[in-house]
Symmetry: C2
Subunit: 298 residues, 2 copies
């Protein structure tokens, strides 16, 4: 099968690498507006060939969009106008607005809105690598609005990437990612800003930072190019979730201020329940990987 | 040299392991109120011997306190009353209140207040391991208030742990750790609470969590036993820093709410400067490790 990947950054590049490696794609065509990215992706052998958007789309079986969500909103209708029998999928972090923008398109059923829950704080084709998706979960939204064959092809693709698929409503997806992905990024950006601001007066403040700080602030390296459009498209959910986060921080502050040590203990003990969640997540990932490898061997 | 370690959790256990391994200590005596911890530490060969506090303190050259900061506030004056020529150091995350509590003690100059900037979200002797301190930074506070020989011994100990030492005023230490350590923990606890609360209604919300969420929330596994007393002792600084963090989050929320995309871009671009800090930190750690290994070989 010939696969086109539009956008050769971390996500698009990593998917291209593994779809070639696992044999799902016989050939991967790359498309990127940024000639440097296109050049790097070809040079690193991430894609077999670089083409312009129209040539790539019309000469492939599956088209994968891996560009920022605002760019996707513009490019997707153009791509849907170009296709004949092709299946199109995207990998963006927000789904509702994109799906709505296509609701009256005659080829809507050939589009599968997806979101693989994987990434790092780095970007560009040089950040792309094999194994990024291993064991992780991919969301496919509103499957009832796509052809069965389209859902089946995209599901097979994610299985070939050693992922498991979860099907859900776009509205639920956008609400839940506001909690488990978008909020993490804003909490890291704000942590970075708070300490960087202090650094202006206390030059040596980062001498004291340990591994815990690194871990909590890591996502603050993420790019505005990718994240500002996500915050815009998911504004309704993100502003709600941010308010809840601020309220919880305020609760912490009040308890500390009022020497309510029992209250602080209770908050921390309750927060510790995240151990259960992270342990379960690790189990799920190992299970997914094991199943994927079993299927591949079979 | 005979070293006593009071408190055989992650920090005390890890220091005991490496002080034996690198030959700084000829013998490590362990003390722990919790008989299970004492038993485990002996069984895992973390310490050579378990003794009661008085016997341990009086029979050693160096006493290291590695217990929660509230327990330290009680135990330190008792230990200082017991000592003859011994040097005493502590490893707690808050320094001002502890130092003030000892200001009139006749043996004050034999005490060196310290804080190695290393840790993980795990606790207990089973979490202790070699290499926890490798390349990291250790703070020594108010060195002018300790005997030169005491400072020198404790500095040598941290160098033997492959750490570098920074000397600073306790007041500055407490202010700066509120930013680079204590705030990270509260931001993680609050993130955990916000999403766990949502889980009550959205059972499958954690299906969507990726590695970014794990990293940001990791510190929320940390124990109330250790952290509530830190927040209490550093209340003055933490409440200030928390307010700044909340204000920054509010700024994010307002920009998103008002579709001020330029404003969101600016916040993210400014936060991205954390790359410089984290890169520098990594360089410092590698440099420290290299120097430590050079000294050991020499």
């Amino acid at each position: 099968m010939i696969v086109s990947v539009i956008g050769l950054g971390l996500i698009g590049g990593s998917i291209a690498i593994d779809l070639k490696k696992n044999g799902f794609a016989d050939k991967v065509i790359g498309v990127d507006n940024n000639p440097m990215h296109a050049h790097t992706a070809k040079k690193l052998n991430i894609v077999d060939q670089i083409q312009d958007l129209k040539t790539a789309v019309t000469s492939s079986h599956l088209v994968i969009l891996a560009i920022p969500v605002n760019a996707c909103l513009k490019a997707l209708p153009q791509i849907m106008d170009l296709i004949d029998q092709q299946i199109v999928t995207d990998l963006g972090s927000t789904k509702e607005e994109l799906i709505n923008s296509l609701s009256n398109h005659p080829k809507r059923k050939q589009f599968v809105p997806a979101h693989p829950m994987a990434g790092t704080e780095f970007s560009g084709p040089q950040a792309a690598h094999s194994g990024l998706f291993d064991g992780k979960c991919s969301i496919i939204c509103n499957p009832e609005d796509s052809h069965k064959e389209a859902i089946s092809l995209v599901t097979d693709m994610f299985h070939a990437l050693k992922m498991r698929c979860v099907y859900m409503d776009a509205e639920v997806h956008d609400r839940q990612t506001a909690y488990v992905s978008h909020l993490s990024h804003i909490s890291a950006f704000a942590l970075s800003l708070t300490v960087l601001h202090k650094e202006k007066k206390d030059k040596h403040i980062f001498e004291l930072a340990s591994g815990g700080f690194d871990s909590t602030v890591r996502l603050a390296k993420s790019s505005a190019e990718m994240w500002t459009p996500i915050f815009k498209q998911n504004k309704k959910n993100i502003t709600k979730v941010l308010q809840k986060y601020i309220d919880t921080l305020q609760q912490f502050k009040d308890s500390i201020e009022n020497d309510d040590l029992k209250g602080v203990d209770n908050l921390i003990n309750e927060a510790n329940d995240i151990r259960r969640v992270l342990d379960q997540k690790e189990k799920n990932e190992m299970e997914t990987l094991k199943n994927a490898e079993k299927t591949i061997r079979a």
